[in-house]
């Protein structure tokens, strides 16, 4: 196992889609037994690059060499044959199959002269692999029934079962809790120890710097540079990524007077499978954060507040008056906005234009007599206004939303709710899977909104976001309030501790 021997090299790799040059003459190399961080803003070409390696997209130009020999990546199958496994951000497991079946899909052990699947053997082998990951998980359980973190593990187990020499991980920790992230790190390091090379894509620089041996930065489809991790710094990398130095990576605590008038009062609120007896008050112009790991019930709580999932008990007062919120429509009518954490499945309207995506909520207000005909001029006005306000980058109002970068898509989703000029805004994971530049922008936007008197409830799995953004932060653990911080008492260690259930003295 000669470490630092070159495993894979791409030469002038190029891939274009109608209108975009996604990957532009990229020379890139991975060595055996290294963790190679791949960073860059959304639309920088990371995903396309790894999809080429995964054999999903055939490259237009350039070559790929493994151990110095040129190899073809015409199909996912071929890249697996070359012992490359890609773990995509959107999972590629089959919900209706068991964990074991997923790990060995296409390579099931056979009996009866290869006619039938040997399920006993299948389950044993799967269990063995999971054991090496110290992953206690019933191989017979359906993937549709297991947690996100567990799915991540299954993906890794799948990669191992191919005994891959190169594993590509796209944002493996994006949706995981600190604890789970630790777990993944261990596994990744122990893979490196086995001489497996890893391409590690992440938006969390601190992860890259903790894990990686080398880091490659991409921008606008081009490779900016590859550095040894020792010989570079976060700010340098950020500079390479955004092309300009982003000051205050996170919006800073401005001097703000503590908000006074209550807007939303929640008492004794319970949601099935989520939270028990939660009470809190959201004031005007306040940014209230709910911190909590997967299973803390945070998402359930916020979804229920917007009427997505039914509440079990509790009362809600909005501007002093008791209200019932059974459907999102109710919340919207009251003046509550909502930005989902699941852009792809719950946010975007893929078949529709950016314009239509932006105005979907307020469309009736832009309509003559609310139903008769849409006043295109008005619609375009509100579009251009919101576009410049949020600085959304796009080709034109009639461009399909799916062709925008993640950051801009997120802005559209926020803009969608802002058009309703709501009084309160609920955001789940507002910056998940978007690049640093956009992150900073979105934080600035949220600040501005709060300063203008908008009340904001958000939840995030990104520690810095929780520490720096909110005026007030409530930590939930297993559905109950375990800690509470104000700007003054905020303490990241205690926050993390509270999130994973160590609450000794954390209550402030």
């Amino acid at each position: 196992m000669s470490t630092f021997a070159e495993l894979l090299r791409t030469e002038r790799l190029t891939k274009s889609f109608p209108g975009v040059l996604a990957v532009d003459k990229v020379d890139f190399d991975v060595r055996m037994g290294e963790i190679h961080a791949l960073v860059g803003e959304n639309g920088a070409g990371k995903s396309t690059l790894i999809k080429i390696l995964g054999g999903v997209y055939p490259p237009d130009n350039g070559r790929i060499l493994m151990d110095g020999k040129e190899v073809a990546f015409a199909s996912t199958h071929q890249s697996l044959e070359n012992r490359i496994s890609v773990i995509y951000q959107e999972f590629n497991l089959v919900p209706d199959l068991s964990v074991a079946e997923n790990i060995f899909i296409g390579r099931e052990p056979k009996t009866f002269g290869g006619m039938l699947v040997d399920f006993r053997k299948l389950n044993v082998q799967a269990a063995e692999i999971l054991a090496t990951l110290e992953m206690p998980l019933d191989v017979k359980s359906y993937v549709s029934d297991i947690s996100v973190a567990e799915r991540q593990m299954v993906e890794i187990a799948k990669a191992l079962s191919h005994d891959s020499r190169l594993i590509v991980m796209d944002e493996p920790t994006a949706t995981l809790t600190e604890k789970e992230v630790r777990k993944i790190f261990e596994i990744v390091k122990n893979l490196r120890a086995r001489g497996v090379a890893i391409i590690y894509i992440s938006h969390r620089l601190e992860e890259a710097f903790e894990l990686a041996d080398r880091i490659t930065v991409m921008r606008d489809g081009r490779k900016v540079d590859t550095r040894d991790i020792e010989s570079t710094s976060k700010s340098e990398v950020i500079e390479m990524m955004v092309g300009k130095v982003v000051k205050e990576y996170f919006a800073e605590a401005g001097a703000r007077e503590a908000p006074k008038q209550p807007l939303l009062e929640v008492r004794g609120y319970s949601v099935a499978d989520a939270v028990e007896d939660i009470s809190f008050t959201l004031h005007r112009g306040e940014i209230l954060a709910f911190a909590g790991v997967l299973g803390s019930g945070v998402h359930g709580l916020l979804q229920s507040l917007f009427g997505v999932v039914p509440r079990k008990a509790g009362e809600v007062r909005f501007e002093g008056a008791p209200v019932r919120i059974d459907r999102p429509a109710d919340a919207i009518r009251l003046g509550i906005g909502y930005v989902t954490e699941d852009r792809k499945n719950a946010g975007l309207l893929p078949a529709m234009s950016v314009l239509q995506n932006l105005t979907v909520i307020v469309i009736r207000a832009l309509t003559f007599l609310r139903v008769l005909f849409i006043r295109s001029v008005e619609e375009m006005k509100s579009f251009t206004a919101m576009r410049s306000r949020l600085d959304i980058k796009l080709a034109g109002p009639h461009q399909r939303i799916i062709f925008l970068s993640g950051g801009n898509q997120q802005k559209v989703l926020i803009g969608r709710t802002l058009l309703t000029d709501c009084k309160a805004l609920i955001l789940l994971e507002p910056t998940r899977g978007i690049d640093i530049g956009a992150k900073a922008e979105i934080h600035r936007i949220l600040r501005e909104l709060a300063d203008r008197g908008m009340s904001i409830i958000l939840t995030s799995s990104e520690l810095p976001e929780l520490v720096n953004l909110p005026d007030h932060c409530i930590v939930l653990y297993k559905g109950r309030k375990t800690a509470e911080f104000t700007r003054a008492t905020m303490d990241s260690e205690k926050l993390v501790a509270a999130q994973i259930g160590h609450t000794e003295g954390a209550r402030a």
């Binding site: 890609v86 590629n92 919900p95 199959l97 296409g106 399920f119």
Partner: protein
């Protein structure tokens, strides 16, 4: 309650069969006779056999409306070939030809990525035409009487079609639940892109599915043709809707991913029982239609309530 509902998901149709039987026993003495019951099962056979194929198609997230035409084509070729190459060979060849239509369906659906519904709708038209062309539009009488045995003969007093139905049930049970192909079919129906990424040849799986459906249709055609002793270029019009009714009544979802072969088998028997039973008591055909429709709607109604109950239970935090 929950356990009962889970059970209902699999065997709910049994309740319908029971109720139906009770009703028929009450209204006619001729129902509770061995040969009546055997006939009902025998008449369920072709519906069930094609139903198994259709179950597979739905599991893969697909669909096949071309089964009628495939049956017609097979029927015609059998009638033409039997005098030439003898019964066994003729059956073999024509079933093969019928299955080839499945290859065509599969290729168009997998390679051209045309929606299965519209594809099979089109191939149905094409193959209907081909069958008529091959037969020159004639009904082709089959002289070899011994061919009748397959559809009408008895073994130990049990009609042959019942054996075929049992055989195919066993066969498909293994394929769907135990073979890797069957699992891949479910996988494709459940999350196609995932299967692609896993390096599996999705197209091959799909083609396989449509070949299997065509195969079942061809076999059903053998049974039917031998009962008629005529090669028919226009066979069993409206059969595809019956098959869909059976498959759906059996509880296989259109969403793909999970098929219910038991359900299909039982539903086929149930549907056969309705028609047979109502004809025993001379119920007008319109009321038979109404009965089938209402039963289907009732089944769906209950299914709907079941799902709602489970959701409500989830919302109340009851472990489901």
């Amino acid at each position: 309650m929950i356990r009962f509902l889970k059970l209902y998901e699999k065997f709910g149709i049994v309740i319908f069969i029971a109720l139906g039987s009770i009703f028929l026993v009450a209204v006619t003495p001729n129902f509770l006779k061995l040969d009546t019951i055997l006939n009902i099962l025998a008449q369920a056979a072709h519906g069930a056999i094609v139903g198994f194929g259709m179950t597979m198609a739905l599991t893969s997230g697909g669909f096949d409306l071309s089964v009628e035409s495939i049956m017609a084509l097979t029927s015609v070729f059998m009638a033409l070939l039997i005098p030439v190459i003898g019964i066994p060979m003729a059956i073999l060849v024509s079933v093969l030809i019928g299955s080839m239509v499945g290859v065509l369906n599969g290729l168009v659906i997998a390679k051209l990525k045309v929606n299965p519904l519209i594809t099979t709708l089109s191939t149905a038209t094409i193959i209907k035409g081909v069958a008529l062309l091959v037969a020159g539009g004639r009904m082709i009488v089959i002289m070899q009487k011994q061919f009748m045995t397959i559809g009408t003969g008895k073994l130990l007093g049990v009609p042959v079609p019942i054996y075929l139905m049992a055989l195919f049930f066993g066969l498909f049970y293994l394929v769907v639940y135990r073979s890797s192909f069957g699992r891949h079919v479910a996988a494709v129906g459940s999350n196609e892109s995932a299967v692609r990424i896993s390096g599996l040849d999705v197209d091959l799986v799909k083609i396989g599915v449509y070949v299997l459906v065509a195969f079942t249709a061809a076999v059903a055609s053998v049974v039917r043709t031998s009962q008629a002793l005529i090669g028919m270029p226009s066979m069993s019009p409206g059969f595809v809707l019956v098959v869909l009714t059976i498959t759906i009544l059996g509880g296989t979802s259109l969403a793909g991913g999970r098929g219910n072969l038991w359900g299909t088998l039982l539903a086929a028997i149930f549907v056969s029982m309705i028609y047979y039973g109502l004809n025993l008591i001379n119920v007008q055909v319109f009321y038979q239609m109404l009965a089938v429709g209402l039963v289907l709607m009732l089944a769906l109604f209950i299914e709907g309530l079941r799902v709602r109950y489970l959701q409500a239970a989830k919302a109340m935090g009851i472990k489901v």
